[in-house]
């Protein structure tokens, strides 16, 4: 089991690792091939950019930018491709066509170019990967053109400088030559005294030196200029060899400049040559003259050996012989010369012809040379003209193509716009409809809800209000009832106090005056007429003096009883002392029941004092003061007079008690009435 399990686990682990490795490897490979995928992976998966950088190298911005640009201008690339197909690739070479297309793209879309980080050499070698030909070439081209233009400009500048130098040198040489010639002419023809002549000859020599130096300088400058022009030419050829259209106008301009420089240079050279030829003639003439002079000099010196040069200055020193010899020599010479002249005149035509022939030959040569150079120049001119015309034509064609493409693009945009407008309208209508219906729904539901809410709210408010009102009323009634209850309670309390104060009587002494309690009662029943009446019905005596308690009355009665017994026989008519004696005797001899229950109705026999006393005593013992008082009230005569006070007291007490009991009953009733039924 375990072995199988472990091998199974190992298998699972191996399978998992394989899957993961395969996934990662596949991702890397696909990222290598598809840069957009790579960018997406790098954006979404952290640390993937590190991994992919390790595996594939950094994803340089140019590619990404190219990618982006390609994406954004996919439409335009399609257009460019279409254009290529339309124009045909035989019109322009592929890379040039793509370059043209990219030109158009740039013209139409007006994107700013970003120099690709690839170097120009690789661009020149044609680093155009098959899937993005136009853009990569275009980008490399722009770079190369920049380099080429820079180099051309450099060469142009240098050659211009050199040419200018050469021209300047040539001009200087020409100047020097003319100067020299002039000086020579002057030297030869002018009749000046010998010192000045020597200075003249010195000047001439200096001028000659100048001329030679100038000519040398001109020569060297010319060589340099020629070198520079050659280099420029080679540069131009090289750039032409690149076959890059952007450089063409530059190349053209450079060529034109070159041509101009060459022309100028040639012109100057011809000038120089003419000047030189002229100087040659003049120098020949001067040589001849010098020779003649020398000859003459020799002759003169041979004739007159002691005379040296500068014989013109020796006019004073010459003797007559010398002079004659000189004159004879001169005559001879003149004759000779005349003869020569005649000979010359005869031979002049031949000489002239010969010289003409020579001149013709020379002229021919010069003409040929000039013609050659002119032809060259014209050829060059025409070529340049042709090139210019070609470039112009190309530009024109480019512009036309651009306009056509623009028209196409405009047409396309118009069409797309129209389609989009129509779609937009349709969609808008749909959306508006949907929106309208939804809004309506929402509105109605909202209204419904709000109405419901409102109704509910109103209902709640009403119920709440009613409840509130009910509560208020209840509270008010409660308050009222409580007030009533409080008052009743107060009344009851005061009545109780009254009651208590009634009860709180010591034996044989009246209670405290009930005034305060009665006042309290009166105070606690302001608005109650009944209670007020009752409270005011309390007898004055009880208020001022208080009342006796029942016990004290009982006790007093017991004391009284004996007295009453003793004066039982004494009344208004029988009130002598003898009567007194008799009543005393009766009292001593008569025995009655201590207490006897009184009957319901008194008959005349019951009006006997002794009976009454026993009845009253019984009542008193049983707490019925009222009945006792009633019974006692039946006493007549002296007995009555004797118990008068007691009776009054009893009456007072009874009254008070009655009032108090009434009040308490009333208070109880009121209190009961105010209590809320559960």
């Amino acid at each position: 089991y375990t072995a199988g399990g472990s091998s199974g686990a190992a298998k699972v682990v191996a399978a998992g690792l394989l899957t993961v490795g395969g996934g990662v490897g596949g991702t890397i490979l696909y990222a290598k091939w598809d840069h957009k995928f790579r960018a997406a992976v790098e954006n979404n998966v952290p640390y993937s950019d590190w991994l992919l950088g390790l595996a594939l190298g950094p994803a340089y911005q140019g590619d990404i930018m190219k990618q982006v640009r390609m994406d954004s201008q996919h439409v335009w690339v399609i257009i460019a491709d279409c254009f290529e197909k339309i124009t045909g690739s035989e019109f322009l070479p592929h890379s040039e066509a793509s370059a043209e297309a990219s030109h158009i793209i740039s013209a139409i879309s007006e994107i700013s170019t970003v120099p690709a980080p690839c170097d120009t050499e690789s661009a020149v070698k044609g680093h155009c990967s098959p899937w993005s030909p136009s853009l990569s070439c275009f980008l490399s081209v722009s770079d190369c053109s920049a380099a080429v233009s820079a180099s051309l400009e450099e060469c142009l500048a240098s050659s211009a400088k050199a040419t200018l130098q050469a021209i300047g040198a040539q001009e200087a040489a020409v100047q020097a030559i003319t100067q020299h010639i002039h000086k020579l002419k002057e030297a030869m023809e002018a009749e000046v005294p010998p010192p000045e002549k020597s200075s003249q000859w010195k000047d001439l020599e200096a001028a000659l030196a100048d001329r030679t130096s100038a000519v040398n300088d001109a020569e060297t400058a010319l060589l340099k200029a020629k070198e520079a022009l050659d280099s420029l030419k080679s540069e131009i050829d090289k750039s032409k060899g690149l076959k890059v259209s952007a450089v063409r106008p530059l190349v053209l301009a450079a060529e034109e400049n070159l041509h101009n420089m060459v022309v100028d240079l040639d012109r100057v050279v011809t000038k120089l040559q003419s000047a030189e030829s002229e100087s040659k003639i003049v120098s020949q003439y001067s040589d001849l003259v010098n020779e003649a002079k020398l000859q003459f000099q020799r002759e003169v010196s041979s004739l007159t050996p002691e005379i040296q040069a500068n014989w013109k200055g020796l006019t004073g020193k010459l003797s007559a012989d010398d002079l004659n010899a000189l004159i004879a020599h001169a005559h001879r010479r003149i004759d000779q010369l005349n003869r020569e002249l005649a000979e010359q005149r005869v031979r002049e035509q031949i000489h002239i012809d010969a010289s003409l022939e020579q001149q013709k030959l020379e002229d021919q040569k010069a003409l040929e040379k000039a013609v050659l150079t002119a032809v060259q120049h014209i050829k060059e001119d025409t070529r340049l003209e042709q090139e210019r015309k070609l470039s112009e034509l190309r530009e024109v064609m480019e512009a036309e193509m651009r306009t056509q493409l623009r028209r196409q693009a405009a047409a396309h945009t118009d069409h797309v716009q129209d389609v989009l407008k129509v779609q937009e309208q349709e969609l808008r209508a749909d959306a508006e409809q949907v929106l309208g219906s939804k809004l309506l729904e929402q509105e109605t539901s909202y209204r419904q809800l709000s109405q419901e809410q409102l109704d509910n709210f109103t209902l709640d408010m009403n119920t709440a209000y009613a409840r509130l009102k009910g509560m208020e009323e209840a509270i008010d009634s409660h308050v009222v009832a409580e007030e009533e209850a409080r008052k009743a309670h107060q009344l009851w309390l005061s009545v109780e106090a009254l009651n208590y104060s009634l009860k709180m009587a010591d034996a044989d002494s009246p209670t405290m005056p009930l005034e305060s309690a009665a006042q309290a009662v009166r105070d606690s029943c302001h608005d109650n007429d009944f209670a007020l009446a009752l409270a005011t019905a309390l007898p004055e005596e009880s208020l001022q003096r208080g009342v006796y308690s029942e016990a004290s009355l009982r006790a007093r009665f017991n004391a009284l009883r004996a007295l009453v017994r003793r004066v039982a026989l004494v009344d208004e008519t029988h009130n002598s002392l003898y009567q007194y004696f008799l009543s005393y005797l009766q009292a001593a001899l008569l025995f009655e029941a201590k207490q006897e229950a009184p009957p319901g109705q008194l008959c005349s026999e019951d009006l006997d004092p002794f009976r009454l006393l026993s009845y009253a005593s019984f009542c008193l013992e049983h707490g019925d003061l009222e009945l006792a008082a009633k019974l006692v009230n039946q006493l007549r005569g002296e007995a009555r007079r004797v118990v008068e006070d007691w009776l009054t007291e009893a009456r007072l007490t009874l009254e008070t008690r009655q009032v108090v009991s009434l009040l308490s009953a009333y208070a109880n009733a009121v209190g009961l009435g105010t209590t809320q039924a559960p």
């Binding site: 009130n575 002392l577 004797v642």
Partner: protein, 83 residues
């Protein structure tokens, strides 16, 4: 208090009686001694007179509450007429 009145009256009576008796007795004695040559009859007379006076006083006193004064007497006829 009304029940004490009788007692007071009796006290008065007794006091009065005693005084009168004593005074009578004294007077009697005096009279008897002075005027009546020590007969006992003035003593007893005077004392008896004294006692009698006392008795009468006592009786009057006891009756006094029943006596009607002139101001208190009213014509009954008027009363009945007024009813």
């Amino acid at each position: 208090m009304s029940e004490k009145e009788l007692g007071k009256k009796w006290d008065r009576c007794l006091a009065d009686g005693a005084i009168k008796f004593g005074t009578g007795l004294g007077l009697g004695i005096v009279f008897s001694v002075l005027f009546f040559k020590r007969h006992t009859w003035p003593i007893s007379l005077c004392s008896g007179a004294g006692l009698g006076m006392a008795f009468s006083n006592c009786q009057n006193d006891l009756r006094s509450s029943y006596l009607l004064h002139r101001s208190q007497k009213v014509g009954l006829c008027n009363k009945t007429h007024s009813n």
